[in-house]
Every structure is written in structure tokens, then in C-alpha cells.
Symmetry: C2
């Protein structure tokens, strides 16, 4: 079972990447499970066509002993299994609490034994690396992490923090860094900045998804690009990225940059 996490700053394109590579892998015959670990809980919208109840929603309504797998796992495009952790109401406890509850419930309900996924993808909020959001790293829930970024200093700062989080847990249940994913979510397109950042971390760039109108256009229709425009170049890029990630065996313990090194990268922009 291949398990990996997609981390990155809010709005950087994690859910876009996760839902599209899940669709690509499903199209390729794999049994895929995607786990939304962002309180925004909208990762599965493009795979299922609507919002699904989150684990926290069901947990609040029924409590842990009455919950069934079919109430929290939903099948979408290509048979991809989707779970949304959900989040507490803002201001009520740790925003990452849903991630902890969801991973616990899936374990209790024997989800992996039942559904036997070939691939499990975690879509995790990366603006802060703490509480429930650090759990996939802390508890070694996956083999490796891929960080979505743009060349924007804010995205790079967040990516660097995620690498600090990865390094923090290096000696227990270590989840390694597989690489960076350069997504077209910024006005400026400077691949050299992302390459230079990757090189300093000791990592590689797995692939690049350019800015594309197909992405929001598919999203408005609540579809992935794989479903909405299967013959497009963008769909092919997601297929390539899916394969590259699945086959990747190069994983490293990243060397996070200092504040000064980050400032230097920003001055290159």
C-alpha cells in the first residue's frame, strides 16, 4: 500500500493536485483512498460532485461507537474512496482535531483492511505545522510527503516550515520528503526560484502544473480535470505527476533553510 501526504500553504492547490492525481490513478486501475486533512473539507467535492459529511460531523452527531464506515467513506469518480476529517468550529479547540479523530476512526473501523486501497493520499493543511496537522508526520502515517508550492515567498516560507516539521520527527515514525510540486497558483512564473529552493533543501521538483483555466472551469462543475477534460494537456500532466510520485523511491530528510537564506531567495524574486 503506497501512502503519501500532500502538504502546502492554504490555497496553493493541494486539493486540486490530490483530487486530480487520485482520478488519474483510478483511471489507471488502482484502488485509491483520499483523506482530506484540511478543515476546509472540500477536497472530495471534485471527485463526488458535492460536499460530503465530515468525520467530525458524524462524530458529533453519533459518537464513536455508533459510527459506520459507510457514513464517513464515500465513493467518487473512478471509484476513489473519499474521507473528509472536518474541523471544529473556529475558536473551539485545535483546528487540527478533525485529523486526529478521522485517522483514529478509520483505524477503529478497519478501513484499510476492508477497502484494501493500493494508494492512500493525505491532503494536509500546511499553514501551521502543529496539533492535528503535524500528526501525519509525527505518527509516520505515510511513506513520504510532497509539498505544493509556487515561487511566492509566502508559499516558500510555508514549504520550508513543513520541512522543519518533517525534520523534527526524523527520529520517530519518520516520514521523508519526496519532493516539491510546482503549481501555477501565482501571477509570477519563476521555476528557477522553486528549483533553487529545492536544491538547497536537498530535494527535487517532481513536476509542474501550469496556471490553467481548465482547473477552475472543471471545479465550477465539481469535477476534476481528468473527468472534465480527459484529453487535455493538463490531464496528461496530472497523469505524469501521479505516476512520478507513485514510483518515486528517492526520499530525503530535508535541510530546512534559515530565515536569512529564505530572505536571500526572496530577494532573488
Amino acid at each position: 500500500m503506497r501512502k503519501f501526504c500532500i502538504y502546502g500553504k492554504g490555497g496553493i492547490g493541494k486539493s486540486t493536485v490530490v483530487s486530480n492525481i487520485a482520478a488519474a490513478l483510478a483511471e489507471d486501475g488502482k484502488t485509491v483512498m483520499v483523506m482530506g486533512c484540511d478543515p476546509k473539507s472540500d477536497m472530495s467535492r471534485n471527485l463526488i460532485g458535492r460536499r460530503i459529511p465530515t468525520v467530525l460531523d458524524v462524530f458529533r452527531a453519533k459518537g464513536p461507537d455508533e459510527m459506520k464506515l459507510e457514513e464517513i467513506v464515500f465513493e467518487g469518480f473512478g471509484g476513489v474512496y473519499c474521507v473528509e476529517s472536518g474541523g471544529p468550529e473556529p475558536g473551539v479547540g485545535c483546528a487540527g482535531r478533525g485529523v486526529i479523530t478521522a485517522t483514529d476512526m478509520l483505524a477503529r473501523l478497519g478501513a484499510f483492511n476492508d477497502l484494501e486501497p493500493d494508494v492512500v493520499i493525505y491532503d494536509v493543511l500546511g499553514d501551521v505545522v502543529c496539533g492535528g496537522f503535524a500528526m501525519p508526520l509525527r505518527k509516520g502515517l505515510a511513506d513520504d510527503v510532497y509539498v505544493v508550492t509556487t515561487c511566492d515567498p509566502m508559499a516558500i516560507y510555508a514549504a520550508n516550515n513543513i520541512c522543519k516539521g518533517i525534520k523534527r520527527f526524523a527520529d520517530r515514525g519518520a516520514v521523508f520528503l519526496g519532493g516539491l510540486i510546482y503549481n501555477g497558483r501565482s501571477v509570477v512564473d519563476e521555476p528557477s526560484i522553486v528549483e533553487s529552493f529545492a536544491a538547497r533543501l536537498g530535494a527535487k521538483v517532481m513536476g509542474r502544473i501550469p496556471m490553467s483555466e481548465l482547473i477552475p472551469r472543471a471545479e465550477i462543475r465539481r469535477k476534476t480535470v481528468l473527468e472534465y477534460a480527459p484529453d487535455s494537456e493538463i490531464a496528461d500532466m496530472f497523469r505524469d505527476l501521479a505516476l512520478t510520485i507513485c514510483l518515486n523511491k528517492d526520499r530525503i530528510m530535508p535541510e530546512p533553510l534559515s530565515d536569512d537564506e529564505l530572505d536571500k531567495i526572496n530577494e532573488e524574486i
Copy 2:
């Protein structure tokens, strides 16, 4: 003593707004204190010309009993007093922990009695509304909150979450919503979207800062626009915004939008 918070999604322009309106108020003869409550800890860079030690840095080095006010409060442009809370290493405890430590230390060291600021501005991370980042709301540390946003759905989602946080604590130490600040940090410029969002919340838009090259240009030189280009239109806009906020007495308990209402706003885009 006028106290307010500036909240918003990471990278939306909080520190830009806070440092510039602080500079404007200082230019106008006020004694201003700014408190960085974002682990990024770079809000005071444009006021002081370099990064300053954070409260958590000094706390880790010396412990609470050895700390002096002059080790954590630094004077910058126009005599503005700057404090940076700092954050723990990613993965080590709550990212908001610095905010709690910093506000405690300033209280212990009698900062407000010593320095007697006319205005105190809190610059607070708003990607998640929990832990230390919810503390200014939970503990009523200020009179009101202003949320920086663009018309980008991600920024609006975060702004809405902050409003949920404000509403959460409505019945204890309530900090009200003063209004939204529309900052030019998005490719798209659609003021009607921000106006429509404000209207549904029951709030008003305090002002608008357009996208401007002066801002990053001043920042590269580690200055506010007020210092770098005091005669520019942008400097005047910050002066107006500073005054508008300081004089504002309209504060409301916001009516946060549901997921469906947020989706509708996004479909308008």
C-alpha cells in the same frame, strides 16, 4: 488607549497594513505599539530595519524571571514600539504559543503602564482560529478586529472563519468586528465581491489599498511606504486608513456565512 487587531489569511497583507498604519499614526504624533502575533515574526522589519528577537527567543534563553522589557520591545520608525511574539519550532507544540507567552510577559513587565501607548495594534495570523491565535478574541485584548482580505475565495473563506471566531466569543470579553480592509494582493480586482461579502456579514469596508509596486520596493529596503515614499498616494491611503480605523465606533457582531453562501460568492467570481 485604542486597541485593535488586524487578522487575515497568511500573506494577505496584515504586516504591510499594520506597519504602515502604525507609521502613519506615529507621524501624526501618537505613541504606538505594534504586537506581531504571527510566527513569521517579520512585521517589525519595516519599522526597525532588521528582524528583532522574539519574546519566545528571549524566553527560551532566559526564562520568565530574567526577562526585561527592553529585551523584547524595540523602538522603530517614528518611535513605534515593536514586539514580536515568535513561534515554536514547527512540530513542537501549538504554533500560537508565542502569542500567549508574549501577552503574558508584556502584562507581567507592565509594558502598557511603562510605555503608555495611545494605540496598540495586534497583527494576528488568521489561517486557523485556535490556540494562541484565538487568544486576542477569547480574552478581549482589544476593542475591535479588522480583517484584511482580497476577493480571492481563499481569503474570503479565511475572513469568514475569523468572523466565526469573533462570534464564538461574543459572550465573554467580546471583541467586535470593526470592518474589512480590501488589500491589493490578488491578480483579480473585484471590489463588488468584497462589498457583497461585507454586506452579508453586516460589516463595512474600511478602505482599499490597491496593488502597488511601492510596497515591495519599500519592503526590500526594510522600510514602510510612509518612510520610503511619504509623498506618495499610497502613503496617503495608509494615513486615511489609520485615521478611519482609529476613529471608528461602529462595531458589530458579524453574521458569518454558511458554506453554501460562500460557494455562491465564489461562483460570482
